[in-house]
Amino acid sequence: MGTSLAIHAEINSAINNDWKRMARPGSFFTGAQRVAMATEARRDRDGDPTGTGQLSPTVARVVRQVSVRPMDITHQWVDQAFSEGLTPLQYVEIIGLVSRLSAIDLFDFGIGSDQRPLPDPVAGEPTGAFDPAAQPNGAVVPTTGPSGASVALTGIRAENAALHEIHEAFFISNTQIPEFGLTKDLIRPQMEMVAARTSYLNDCFY
């Protein structure tokens, strides 16, 4: 089922770009593994424990946690995943992919559209790309500056850029954050009411 609502071009463009991005090899995972992560993230959300058989138990567990109960993630839990061989930068890639999928699926649900089919994976090897300037800065993943929302995924440039593309299209750009007098279809406090309520419901206090 589609929606009768007119969707802003920048939102459609960001979603289409993300779907293409999901299908391609990332820095540390193949396209098939990335699409498998999305498949399992959706199943986890629906309470379906069926795996795809394409992810390691550690990766599958991280996907499930980020998709369903991110608020329960602790240092101990992350340390356990890292002790099983997951690297901090692999963790960045999983977080980025699953989080953006959540944004898009929530949006489709909100506008009354069916969940869009996942893309077919593109063949190829992971690029191995990361930002060597990223260092420990207070979070459990390396960042290029003091930890915070705007730099959370900077360990992998492509993941950071993808996050910001969705952020700007769905909400506002980082440079617009201090513009409290801004209007973008809604006045800023109306957007912030949605933001604050959503964060409260998600038990997120960052």
Partner: protein, 107 residues
């Protein structure tokens, strides 16, 4: 808090307690409808979503409603990212928690 700063910049009222209390009138224009939409989207509430969407379109128009849904999606994403990387909490969380009448630190 960005909500308060936005209300000051636009010269519109807002009751911050409405963020955490569904019984509190947000006082913000279309605040009740925006909050109901955030609830329905975030909680994947299939019963409430069409009701919330229609009410929000009536209150702020179609473009505004789409934007509100997108903002809820965006925060679904950002909440996951910040929770997952265990971003250190900055600012004055205890002060903000007191304003919103929520427990701090979280149990």
């Amino acid at each position: 808090m960005f909500l308060r700063e936005g209300s000051k910049a636009h010269g519109v009222p807002v009751n911050l307690l409405a963020v955490t209390s569904a019984a509190t009138d947000p006082e913000l224009p279309a605040g009740k409808e925006l909050r109901a939409m955030a609830d329905a989207v975030t909680l994947w509430d299939t019963d409430e979503i069409p009701i919330a969407r229609d009410a929000l379109i009536a209150a702020v128009g179609e473009a505004g409603a789409v934007r509100a849904i997108a903002v809820a999606g965006n925060y679904g994403m950002m909440n996951r990212v910040l929770d997952a990387v265990l971003n250190p909490i900055s600012g004055r969380p205890a002060t903000m928690a007191a304003e919103l009448h929520i427990e701090w630190p979280r149990s």
